[in-house]
Amino acid sequence: MATIERRTDIGPPHYDKFLHPIIKENYGKWKYHDTLRAGVLVHVGETGSIYTVRAASPRLISTNFIRLMTGLATKYADGYLRFTSRNNVEFLLGNKDNIDPLIKELSDNGVPVGGLNNSISNVVHTQGWVHCHSAATDASGLVKVVMDELYEYFVEMKLPHKLRIAVACCLNMCGAVHASDIAILGLHRTPPRIDHSTLPNLCEIPTTVASCPNNAIRPTSIEGKTTVKVDEDKCMYCGNCFTVCPAMPLADPLNDGVSIWVGGKISNARTEPMFTKLAIPFLPNNPPRWPEVTEAVKNIVEVYAKNAKPYERVGEWINRIGWPKFFDLTGIEFTKYHLDDFRYAGTTYRRSTQNRY
């Protein structure tokens, strides 16, 4: 290995060499696309068509899984494949006849095809207990149990519109939790426990104090050493202090858990983007299969599927029927926790008499 010359700052390779010849020819010249069946698209260009088969992936995958995919790509897709912005695998086929055999072989290997149009696509998610120090829950496991439950909505296109789910394991929200149709968010519910013996060495006091959005952290001195204290009444367990100061962990097996959010969206289609809003403030961390969580999510999906109109995303549907009816229809309890009390809380108060009864 020492014989390899050391190169730096070379950047990623040019995408050109990964593009299927049909794509290269029709680059920027696509006329339209069509959905051939669940998970299969055709894009019609000036000189030819490219067929896309979209396969699920757990995203946390081994080289084994990837080699399975590259093998199939070589066999059926002239060696061309890509990943989507939601971590699905897309095979790019020049030959229409390869679609069915490819799908068959994927299916034999337990890999479903779908996620297009009016379906639930793959779940954008994060590290969880598999790799992150901040996690209040696991991510990959939650995705697995939720998608087991919602499988039919991935492989069929029977929803009113696209439904995007995201999972994040802490409030940093490495992903799309703040703007998803349904989001599952791991959270802590107790203030950081301060390790005063290590804090003075590990943490910069001013940065730590400044990290708190609620000004709950103040410098203090214990046994002559400068450390910090937390005003627990002001702490809402965001974990930002822990990010900058390892001596302030929040993890607490008894109180960590999961919350459910609804009605976010990113696209500018029809409405402007919308944030995800709180539906269920707390469900217990109940691994390995988080039954309370899967049930809650499935319920929301089903109520949406039954009540929304075509081309209505979850948030658009709720905006049409109003939040009181959303809580009614889903049977979710409305609590004081739903009332915003952060910075811009006032912008969520109803400033009119317009209401449903």
Partner: protein, 397 residues
């Protein structure tokens, strides 16, 4: 390495129709790293908590980012994951690969790492998950030998990413792949050596569908858009009508500005009222496509909630030409003005979105030299607290 692997809880995740990452991981459980990862994860599932230490500075010589250091908090029990760092590898534009290229990377990773990955990380990188400090340099050398380089982490330009764009989408209003490639290469220094106030993410979507979630998840969202009239193929409209497609309900009534009408089989759009939401184009892909005068809208400051609450990006430049001919100069120019102003006046750990909130849009626009325009806002101020800058002085009367 610990004793025989028993994972009764994780085994529950092998059930059900969705592909199981546990089954996949177990297929590699002969490797000590994977075995102990599973072991520690099983313990997490039992104890309902993670077992990783906080961060840890490790890296590649000459690079300030690209590697996330990770150590087990209980290495005695799970020595295989006492080190378990991730390597972020900068993906190619649009996440396009050939089997060959991917296999080469897998070869490297099987040799020097756990064999586990995320394809891809949320920011866009290939995430190679789990290796030890001493393997970092060999991995780096072999990757670069095959033309791959590291992605971002820390307070730097993060790995830019883009939607599939013109490579396979008829909506693309500019070449997202080319611009992503160009920016990534031009700003290697900013990407690899964290010198900003905080992270800076760029995401490029070819049209307002925003398939990379740029408005929500990037400090700079470059979203394809057009200025002129939506192109209509009336014969294709007639086909939709003949096929019984309910244009009235699914298109006309859903248009946010109600600027579409159907007369017989002819669709008319009052483009002066169209807000380019793309809904009609989405629903009638065979008949409608974006106008011909294309470019991008640039919005800044999308981010997750820490610290002041989540932000969607704020529209700063409603339209900019994305011109490959002149090397995307206008974009570079704007980007550099933004960085300069943020560098000088931003605070430590202050994302550009939070920075704009703090200094206000007015000051920010002045700082980066962009004109105020009604397109940048949803409404003019409704409070009377105006700081007037022009006074009359006694003498000037």
């Amino acid at each position: 390495m610990s004793d025989e692997l028993k994972t009764p809880l994780l085994d529950e995740l092998e059930k059900g129709p969705w592909p199981s990452f546990i089954t996949d991981l177990k297929s590699m459980a002969d490797r000590p790293m994977v075995k102990d990862l599973l072991g520690q994860l099983e313990k997490s599932y039992r104890d309902k908590r993670g077992y990783w230490k906080h961060g840890g500075l490790v890296g590649i010589m000459g690079y300030g980012g690209g590697v996330i250091g990770r150590y087990s908090a209980i290495p005695e029990d799970f020595p295989g994951v006492s080190h378990f760092h991730t390597v972020r590898v900068n993906q190619p534009s649009g996440w396009f690969y050939t089997s060959e290229a991917l296999n080469e990377i897998m070869d490297i990773w099987d040799e020097h790492g756990s064999g586990l990955t995320n394809m891809h990380g949320s920011t866009g990188d290939m995430v190679l998950l789990g290796t030890t400090t001493q393997e970092l340099e060999p991995i780096f050398r072999e990757l670069t030998a095959k033309d791959w380089d590291l992605g971002g982490s820390g307070s730097d330009l993060r790995t830019p990413s883009c939607c599939i764009g013109p490579a396979r989408c008829e909506n693309a209003c500019y070449d997202t792949l080319a611009l992503t490639y160009n920016i990534t290469h031009k700003y290697q220094d900013e990407l690899h050596r964290p010198m900003f106030n905080y992270k800076y993410k760029i995401k490029m979507s070819g049209c307002p569908n925003d398939c990379t979630a740029a408005m929500a998840r990037s400090d700079m969202a470059i979203i394809g858009i057009w200025k002129d009239d939506i192109q209509i193929d009336q014969s294709a409209i007639a086909e939709y009508v003949d096929a019984g497609f309910n244009i009235q309900e699914y298109v006309i009534e859903k248009c946010p500005t109600k600027c579409i009408t159907l007369e017989g089989k002819e669709l008319k759009i009052d483009d002066s009222d169209c807000v380019k939401c793309v809904h009609c184009i989405n629903v009638l892909p065979k008949a409608l496509s974006p106008g011909k005068e294309r470019g991008a809208a640039i919005a800044l400051g999308g981010k997750a909630p820490i610290v002041d609450g989540a932000l969607f990006a704020t529209l700063i430049v409603p339209f900019i030409e994305i011109d490959e001919e002149n090397g995307f100069e206008e974009v570079h120019d704007l980007l550099e003005r933004i960085w300069e102003f943020w560098d000088e006046h931003g605070m430590n750990r202050e994302r550009i979105g939070e920075f704009i909130e703090r200094v206000t849009l007015k000051t920010f626009l002045e700082g980066i030299g962009v004109e105020p325009m009604p397109q940048q806002i949803t409404q003019p101020r409704d409070n009377p607290y105006i700081f007037y800058e022009e006074y009359f002085e006694e003498e000037t009367e």
